[in-house]
């Protein structure tokens, strides 16, 4: 296996040749625009990924040919809209290899999916003195809903610590599993640090104790193959806009046996079978958890995004992005005064960093002036920042359309930041 070492050509070529990110870029109209007079370098896909033409076309096609409300009416448009919407659900099922579409609930996004579980499952299951175990690297979306549920039911939220490199301290995590632990809620990949969590070990420990596991998959879904049966988790949540789809649509995968025992969450149309003033009977899964007219075009756009990604090949995308991550890590480490935040052995999609003497907010403004879009701030993961004694970092994150040239532009712009601040 010494072939990679023997290869003399720079990684720039290797990436371009194998994956043809240039061809991928052509599928994303927004990447053709300029920002502040420079071609856009978009390194903020972890906040929101851009949409390919295929997604925009699917949404436009739906709106111009098919739109009507779903699950209502016998007219042609309503039937076609229902078929397209439920077709998107089947696409999601296939994409994450769920057993049945009964386990696929459309939500507004990851946040709403976790709130659904925290409130419905939590409302039925959490008792005073119970514990919910999370980690210190969670996104606020996987902290606050549990805080609220714990406060409502007298339960306690417990957070497992991190290792100094930003990996999960797995022995400490396991030690925190107790008799009162009722739920484990963990990220698949940290949005602030890029850390990949050891889900196999976590799920194995959880199953030994009969504790359900919720996985916040927002930062994983676009970057590698996700198979909920192989993961064997009980809940998996993700957002459409992190996987090249539209905003306002997301998915909660939930093991049917758990879902069947959960009380309905929001009430309204579509989630009922019959309604009388005194009481109602509820619809079957998954619609029982989808009150009101859903985001139909969002679901269809999400389906198109998944199809697009399948077309590229998730394994090829994963290899491409891992190579970019390695390349960016190397290039950034070489910059004087730059400190990488989060250097866990297993990472995905994200490089977080600080620059001595320059606040991340100033980095963000100066990079933007060069047409380079990165996220700066606490990344909605304030406990993770606190763990590193920081208020903020700058973060570059990668998607299927990023190239080595993007990393070169990032590095060049960071050198300019250094020049301004001396």
């Amino acid at each position: 296996m010494n072939a990679p070492r023997a290869q003399a050509s720079p990684p720039v070529r290797a990436v371009a040749n194998e994956f043809s990110a240039e061809r991928v870029r052509a599928d994303f109209p927004i990447l053709a625009r300029e920002v502040n007079g420079r071609p856009l370098v978009y390194l903020d896909s972890a906040a929101s990924a851009q949409q390919p033409r295929a997604v925009l076309d699917a949404i436009e096609h739906y709106a111009t040919t098919t739109h009507a409300n779903v699950h209502r009416g016998v007219h042609t448009l309503s039937q076609e809209a229902t078929a397209a919407f439920e077709g998107a659900r089947e696409h999601v099922r296939r994409f994450i290899n769920a057993r049945s579409t009964r386990e696929i609930i459309f939500t507004r996004g990851t946040t709403e999916a976790i709130n659904l579980v925290a409130q419905s499952w939590g409302g039925a299951q959490l008792k005073p003195g119970d514990e919910v175990l999370i980690t210190h690297l969670e996104h606020h979306a996987n902290i606050v809903p549990w805080q609220m549920a714990c406060a409502a039911h007298g339960a306690r939220l417990v957070a497992a610590p991190l290792a100094p490199d930003g990996a999960l301290d797995l022995p400490a995590f396991i030690a925190l599993l107790g008799e009162r632990t009722r739920m484990i809620a963990v990220a698949h990949v940290s949005n602030a640090l890029g850390t990949v969590l050891p889900l196999r070990e976590i799920v194995a420990e959880a199953q030994r104790r009969g504790i359900p596991v919720l996985v916040d998959g927002a930062q994983a879904i676009a970057h590698q193959r996700v198979d909920v049966q192989a993961l064997d988790c009980d809940f998996y949540a993700f957002s459409g806009h992190k996987v090249y789809g539209p905003t306002g649509i997301g998915v909660l995968y939930a093991r049917e046996a758990l879902l069947a025992k959960m009380p309905p969450w929001q009430g309204g149309g579509d989630m009922i079978l019959t309604v009388a003033i005194e009481s109602s009977t509820y619809n079957d899964l998954p619609w029982r958890f989808e009150a009101g007219t859903p985001n139909i075009s969002g679901a269809i756009g999400l389906g198109a995004a998944l199809g697009y990604l399948e077309g590229l090949g998730l394994d090829a995308v994963h290899r491409h992005e891992q190579r970019l991550l390695a390349e960016a890590t190397g290039a950034l480490q070489a910059l004087p005064g730059l400190r990488l935040i989060g250097t866990a052995p297993e990472k995905m999609g994200v490089v977080s960093f600080t620059l001595d003497g320059v606040h991340p907010h100033d980095i963000g403004t100066l990079l933007d002036a060069e047409g380079v879009a990165v996220r700066t701030g606490h990344h909605c993961a304030m406990p993770a920042m606190t763990f590193f004694g920081l208020a903020a970092t700058a973060r570059a994150s990668f998607g299927c359309y990023n190239t080595s040239a993007d990393i070169e532009r990032l590095v060049a712009a960071l050198i300019k930041v250094r020049e301004v601040f001396g």
């Binding site: 502040n36 320059v358 606040h359 991340p360 907010h361 100033d362 403004t365 100066l366 002036a369 700066t376 701030g377 606490h378 304030m382 920042m385 208020a391 903020a392 301004v420 601040f421 001396g422």
Partner: protein, 155 residues
Amino acid sequence: MDTRDLYRDVILDHNRSPRNFGRLEPADGSALGHNPLCGDSLSITLRVQGERLSELRFNGQGCAISVASASLMSEAVTGKPLDEIAALYHDVHGLLTVDKYTPQRPLGKLMALSGVREFPARVKCASLCWHTLNAALEQRNAAASPVAAAAVSTE
């Protein structure tokens, strides 16, 4: 959009060597300002003699714009009558948010902040210290008794 207009020498200098950095104890008024967008926080303690702000210190962490703005503000308001500070606040707010704003009075070094207006995402960084100063002055008025320091947010 030229970042040289934002990061002028005066701004960079006050960021590197902030004036009046620290804390007054005891203080007549204090407040904690917070910018939830970036997680930055700024605390202000001040003393008042008669109707004049005699001393002000700030500390906390923040970007170059917020640190320099607080530092410039501390120099501009120290020794000034409170009503003049209110008028100054009005002018700085105009400078940060209104196109081609003409200040009612000479702003001196505070004019270095005029570039911020071109960067809407950064206006809150520059105005945080002024909001916090107002809160500290109000807290002083409200609190003849020892209450918790006032807190403000840019949101």
